[in-house]
């Protein structure tokens, strides 16, 4: 049973029917799902949630879908890990990592795509589509396979082989576009108008984006029904950042948790930090940039939700941090060697950003902090390859002991 009543423009508040539509016909502002929260409050409780499946679909009442049958590869309900080692190093006594790198296709995109695929099927689409340089491609291809839908996945022709295989294995129609990042962007915007497909982050975007709210719901539940004092989040389009904030507030307004005083900390890599730049300039205008970052999953130069991310920072008394490019790999390594969690570039940005926030005193030692790790390091091993130095030996005891002495001396 869905509790969605309409789509509403985030800029001019005009309302639209629940259809595959992403921008306001009047002002071209982005559309957002509107819920009947009174009806949700009558049916949703902590008890009901706890009895639900151990996946993101335990929060189905707060997701914009109608039926009982979700397109589900078991995304969500990922571990919230208490990080004592990393916390000790950073001087934070109550540090947690939300490890969304262990989703079925190894990133948080499974949350948004699961909602998008479910909604697309409800609308009667038989084809899912996306343009991606990595995580989204894998997730769309996997969900299409699960739903027995066709999939068209557009990737830049120069994409790393590992990522191509990671999406191709699910057997979508994989299209390698020979052109710049801007060319791929332009082409896919045109394709979305020309073909009757469910482009998950274009015509299905209002529904797709709502899947990220489950990152807030799960953390609140896993913390014993409370919101954290701080959330440190990697940001590309800005959508996930705003939806985590929205998720905490929905839970509070439904009486599932107490008052929300979470400070939202936005992190980007310096090579693609248009939202941080706008925040530094005390502006709500995000000036588009050409991305040049090794944190490829955050390489969005013209973020669709930049304005709303900036408002979330302001409303939550949060911050915006741009991490130097050389610190991205250091962040990945630091999380791996302190907590045994191997993340990709976006996670490196979060960990290094967290370190800056702790050093600057923006996060106090006793405050409860959650860092969101949204993608798996196995997909982007090239980012940390230069930091890995195994001992090379001959197959003899003497050779091993010699190498070991050398390593200890270093």
């Amino acid at each position: 049973m869905a509790y969605v009543t309409a789509l509403r423009c985030r800029s001019c508040s005009r309302e639209y029917a629940v259809e595959p539509l992403n921008v306001c016909e009047f002002c071209f502002g982005p559309l957002e799902v509107v819920y009947d929260y009174d009806a949700i409050a009558r049916v949703l409780s902590r008890e009901r949630i706890v009895q639900g499946p151990l996946s993101m679909w335990r929060y189905a009442a707060l997701l914009p879908v109608d039926g009982e049958e979700a397109v589900d590869i078991n995304a969500g309900f990922t571990p919230l890990v208490r990080c004592r080692n990393l916390g000790r190093l950073l001087g934070l006594e109550h540090l947690y990592v939300k490890n969304d790198a262990v989703n079925p296709s190894y990133s948080f995109k499974d949350r948004v795509v699961s909602v998008a695929a479910t909604k697309a099927r409800e609308f009667g689409f038989d084809t899912l589509a996306c343009a991606s340089t990595g995580n989204l491609a894998c997730s769309v291809a996997a969900h299409a396979a699960r739903a027995s839908m066709k999939a068209y996945v557009f990737i830049p022709a120069d994409l790393e082989r590992g990522k191509v295989v990671g999406a191709a294995v699910y057997n979508p129609t994989l299209v390698a576009v020979d052109g710049s990042y801007d060319d791929v962007n332009r082409l896919c915007s045109e394709l979305a108008d020309a073909y009757p497909w469910a482009f998950v982050n274009i015509n299905i975007r209002p529904y797709y984006a709502e899947g990220s709210k489950t990152l807030a719901y799960e953390v609140a539940e896993q913390l014993g029904w409370r919101a954290p004092d701080h959330a440190v989040v990697p940001v590309a389009s800005g959508s996930m950042f705003t939806k985590i904030w929205k998720g905490f507030h929905e839970f509070a307004s439904l009486g599932l948790i107490g008052k929300v005083a979470t400070r939202m900390h936005l992190t980007q890599a310096e090579g693609c930090s248009p939202i941080v730049e706008a925040h530094r300039a005390n502006s709500l205008h995000v000036r588009p940039v050409r991305p040049h970052t090794i944190a490829k999953s955050l390489a969005i130069g013209n973020p669709a939700d930049g304005l709303f991310a900036l408002r979330t920072i302001r409303d939550s008394h949060g911050t915006a941090t741009a991490v130097p490019e050389e610190e991205v790999a250091q962040g990945i390594k630091l999380l791996a060697e302190t907590e045994g969690i191997f993340t990709e570039g976006a996670g490196g940005v979060v960990v290094s950003g967290l370190r800056h926030l702790a050093e600057e005193g923006a996060i106090k030692p006793q405050e409860l902090t959650v860092a969101y790790i949204t993608g798996n390091g196995l997909k982007t091993q090239e980012v940390v390859e230069h930091l890995v130095h195994p001992l090379a030996i001959r197959p003899t005891l003497a050779s091993f002991e010699e190498a070991l002495r050398g390593a200890v001396a270093r």
Binding site: S132, H285, R287, I300, P303
Partner: protein, 80 residues
């Protein structure tokens, strides 16, 4: 005839230039501004452009060449 929705972002040096007027003069397209925020040091305009597909493409190529950034209204659609 097709309709294209785009966002122009102006660098400071072009804020005072009548780029959209010239686009309509130089090419057989009709421009219709739907949202805008133009200040002393920056500006963006979201507009609809009507015309033949090829003529719109030529027009937008010219807009890019004069130094204005042209993007889809929905922001970047290529995600990580």
């Amino acid at each position: 005839m097709v309709t294209k929705r785009v966002k122009f972002t102006f660098p400071p040096g072009l804020i005072t230039e009548p780029v959209i007027y010239r686009l309509g003069q130089k090419f057989r397209v009709v421009t219709n501004i739907r949202r805008a925020d133009v200040r002393a040091d920056m500006g963006w305009v979201v507009l609809e452009i009507d015309g033949e597909a090829g003529e719109i493409e030529r027009g937008l190529k010219w807009v890019r060449e004069v130094g204005v950034r042209v993007d889809p209204v929905s922001g970047d659609v290529v995600e990580g």
